[in-house]
């Protein structure tokens, strides 16, 4: 399971990474480029704006002062002034003071340098002064007017002196001058209004020496020797340009965007400064927005990547699960995917085909395995059967060997008995011949000689049986016409009178490959047995019949008493006999001979009706021997 997750993750992350690189990197590069561009442009624009503002304000300042100068000028050129009508002048000055609060004090000085009228706003000091040697008076009388002389009125209020020559327009004669102290406090008010705190902008007007004339924060001006910070002053006073702007690092570490403009008429400078952070707010806002967009795009790309990788990995995962199922032998499990018309679809299709093919192959293998197992079982069974056969064959062999040993012994014994038997036979022949030669032979001796002769024959018969059972010579088979052979044999067999012989031979001729000596013994033994169980009267039936397994069956049937079932099974056992005198080898010899001919023998017997020995011999299938010479 760990392995599975790890593999799946790999592909997933790979896809995500690819998507990020493909979509975000160009976007990032373009975005970065645009932002830098925009920021520079914006900063320039802001700086320009600020400069323009400074220029504008310098006009305002100039206009402000000029407007009051004009008022004074208009007054100075009135008839009442150049005629030096004291009364009229006084009321005019009073009027001006009342109307324009910016005038702190107004004085009228006549051509002699004597102060004729002095009106002061905040005090009643009417003490007149002598201006004959005053440089301002001299200048005005020479040039016509004077504006300047910045000072702190009463040590607090910034003000300048405006002085206008009183001229008679008809004669162009300088009749004196009107001089006013003009308060500049309003300028600070103007600045404050124009640049409220909220804008984070500070504006100031300074005179040529750097002293504050006005400030957006009026309190600043009221301070003693109020000046702008040195670093700013340095820039402003050393600059030759009439206007300009740029970033200025402050001692406090803050950076500000500064702009200045000269008020030409008075040599003043209007200075406006904004904190960089405020000034560039817009560009920063834009940057923020761009970042947000990029973040959004990233999230979107991640989502897209996830979705795409799901689309790609999901069918692969499904195929993988199917493959695992397949590996577990579940051929009917279908991957849970709608097969798309693309490479994955092809893969799925190929997978299905592989699955089908595997199914067939596995079925074949399983089939083969089952067959193999079946074969194995049958082989085991056969081995078992064969083992049983071998065991029984071995037992048979042991039995046969025992019988063979027994037969050998019997053979030796029989052979040794034959010699004395021959001697007895010879001797009894001698006695019989001698006895019969006598004129009146004793009948009992003759009878006993007969008994001895009969017993010798019996003994000899027994020996014959034992020897024929024990002998193991090679078969000498000869292709024989079965019916002709049987006819010959039956003809030569000495059937007793009370036995009726019946022959039921099949219609066709049968050729068999038999050792006639042994077959003689078989048939003679069977006939002899049949005759022996029918001592009174009986019928012997010899029958031949073709069997479908290409054998011919020969039946030798008697109408004797039949054989009980319990005896029937033991009949072919060597040395088993039911006769009073018998070796029990007759039927054993029969069985042995038939088996040597690859035939089989069986007995059917019904007690009270008779017994039928049936033995089957294989038909000869080879080339026919030359036809026997016609019999005489």
């Amino acid at each position: 399971m760990q392995e599975k997750n790890r593999k799946r993750g790999k592909l997933f992350y790979k896809l995500l990474l690819i998507f990020l690189i493909v979509s975000l990197v160009p976007l990032g590069i373009v975005g970065y480029y645009l932002i830098s561009l925009t920021q520079v442009t914006l900063n320039k624009a802001i700086t320009r704006d600020q400069e323009a503002l400074a220029v504008g304000f310098s006009d305002t300042v100039s206009n402000y002062v000029i407007s009051f100068r004009n008022i004074l000028y208009e007054s100075a050129h009135l008839e009442d002034f150049y005629t030096m009508n004291m009364e009229k002048e006084r009321s005019m000055v009073n009027h001006l003071m009342q109307v324009h609060s910016a005038f702190l004090e107004i004085s009228v000085i006549n051509a002699l340098g004597e102060e004729t009228i002095r009106m002061v706003r905040f005090s009643d000091s009417n003490k007149t002064r002598d201006f004959i040697n005053d440089p301002v008076y001299r200048k005005v009388m020479k040039t016509g007017e004077y504006i300047g002389g910045f000072e702190k009125y009463n040590g607090t209020y910034p003000c300048i002196t405006v002085a206008i020559q009183i001229v008679n327009p008809n004669t162009s004669y300088a009749a004196g001058m009107v001089m006013a102290k003009l308060s500049l406090n309003s300028l600070s008010g103007l600045l404050k209004t124009s640049f409220p705190d909220a804008t984070h902008t500070q504006a100031a007007v300074i005179d040529i020496n750097g002293f504050l004339i006005a400030h957006s924060n009026p309190e600043e001006v009221l301070k003693k020797n109020a000046k702008l910070p040195d670093e700013i002053l340095k820039i402003l006073l050393q600059n030759d340009a009439k206007s300009g702007g740029g970033e200025i690092p402050l001692i406090t570490g803050e950076r500000v965007l500064g702009a200045f403009s000269e008020v030409e008429a008075f040599g003043w400078v209007v200075y406006i400064q904004r904190s960089i952070s405020v000034a560039y707010q817009a560009s920063r806002d834009m940057l923020d927005k761009t970042w947000k967009v990029m973040l959004l795009v990233t999230v979107f790309v991640l989502f897209l990547g996830y979705a795409v990788s799901i689309v790609i990995t999901q069918p692969i995962q499904a195929l993988r699960e199917a493959a695992i199922k397949l590996g577990e032998g579940d051929f009917n499990y279908l991957p849970d995917i709608s097969i798309p018309n693309d490479e994955i679809g092809e893969l799925a299709h190929t997978f299905m085909e592989m699955s089908d093919s595997l199914k067939v192959k596995t079925a074949e293998i399983i089939d083969a395995k089952e067959q193999l197992e079946k074969l194995n079982r049958s082989l085991e069974n056969r081995v078992e059967a064969r083992t049983r056969e071998l065991k029984s064959a071995q037992e048979e062999l042991i039995k046969k060997e025992r019988l063979a040993a027994m037969g050998q012994m019997a053979s030796v014994v029989s052979h040794e008995i034959r010699n004395p038997l021959a001697v007895i036979n010879n001797s009894i022949y001698f006695i019989k011949t001698k006895t019969n030669a006598q004129p009146n032979p004793e009948p009992k001796i003759v009878k006993h000689i007969g008994i001895i002769e009969s017993e010798i024959r019996q003994a000899n018969g027994i020996i014959d049986e034992i020897l024929s059972f024990a002998r193991s010579r090679d078969l000498k088979p000869k292709v024989t016409n079965l019916h002709a052979y049987l006819e010959d044999l039956l003809m030569s067999y000495p059937f007793p009178q009370h036995i009726q012989l019946e022959k039921h031979f099949a219609g066709e001729h049968f050729m068999v490959n038999i050792d006639q000596d042994e077959m003689n013994q078989v048939i003679r033994n069977l006939i002899k047995n049949g005759i022996e169980v029918m001592p009174e009267v009986g019928k012997m039936i010899i029958r031949t019949e073709w069997l479908p397994d290409d054998t011919v069956r020969i039946d030798i049937e008697d109408t004797g008493p039949g054989i009980p079932k319990d005896v029937l099974d033991k009949l072919f056992t060597p040395f088993f006999t039911t006769k009073a005198r018998g070796t029990g080898l007759g039927l054993a010899v029969v069985k042995k001979a038939i088996e040597r001919h690859k035939g089989r023998v069986e007995i059917a017997s019904v007690v009270g009706k008779g017994t039928c020995f049936k033995f089957a011999l294989p038909l000869y299938k080879g080339a026919m021997p030359p036809p026997p010479p016609p019999r005489a």
Binding site: S427, F430, D517
Partner: protein
């Protein structure tokens, strides 16, 4: 003239009894108890018939057959045996010069008739 029969067997009783019954049947008989003695007697009397056991202590009936045939083509040789003879053995014996086989015990009358038959066929 009586026909002469030479009987060769190591069993004295059998030799004697056979001798007696064949004498009774009207033959002149000689007895040899082994091969050596038998061959000597055959050379000496040149009998018409020679009856020999196949198993002898010093040799076999077949060897007697072979020896005797070296000097007599005429003599009728009958081999006696107590055991079963295969046809191969019999054929071998015939090739060595044997004329007839006899399985013990045998019927004297039958033997007698057979001997006379064989003799008459050879024109003797």
């Amino acid at each position: 003239m009586e026909k002469q029969i030479l009987i060769i067997d190591d069993d004295a009783n059998l030799r004697e009894s056979l001798y007696e019954v064949l004498e009774l049947e009207g033959f002149k008989c000689y007895q040899g108890k082994n091969a050596k003695e038998g061959i000597e007697l055959a050379k000496k009397h040149n009998p018409e018939v020679l009856i020999t056991d196949i198993q002898l202590p010093d040799s076999s009936g077949f060897q007697i057959c072979q020896e005797v045939r070296k000097f007599s083509k005429e003599v009728i040789i009958i081999m006696m045996t107590g055991r079963f003879m295969s046809s191969d053995e019999k054929t071998q014996g015939f090739q060595l010069g044997a004329d007839e086989y006899l399985t013990k015990p045998f019927d004297i009358q039958e033997l007698s008739v057979r001997i006379r038959q064989l003799l008459s066929r050879r024109g003797k």
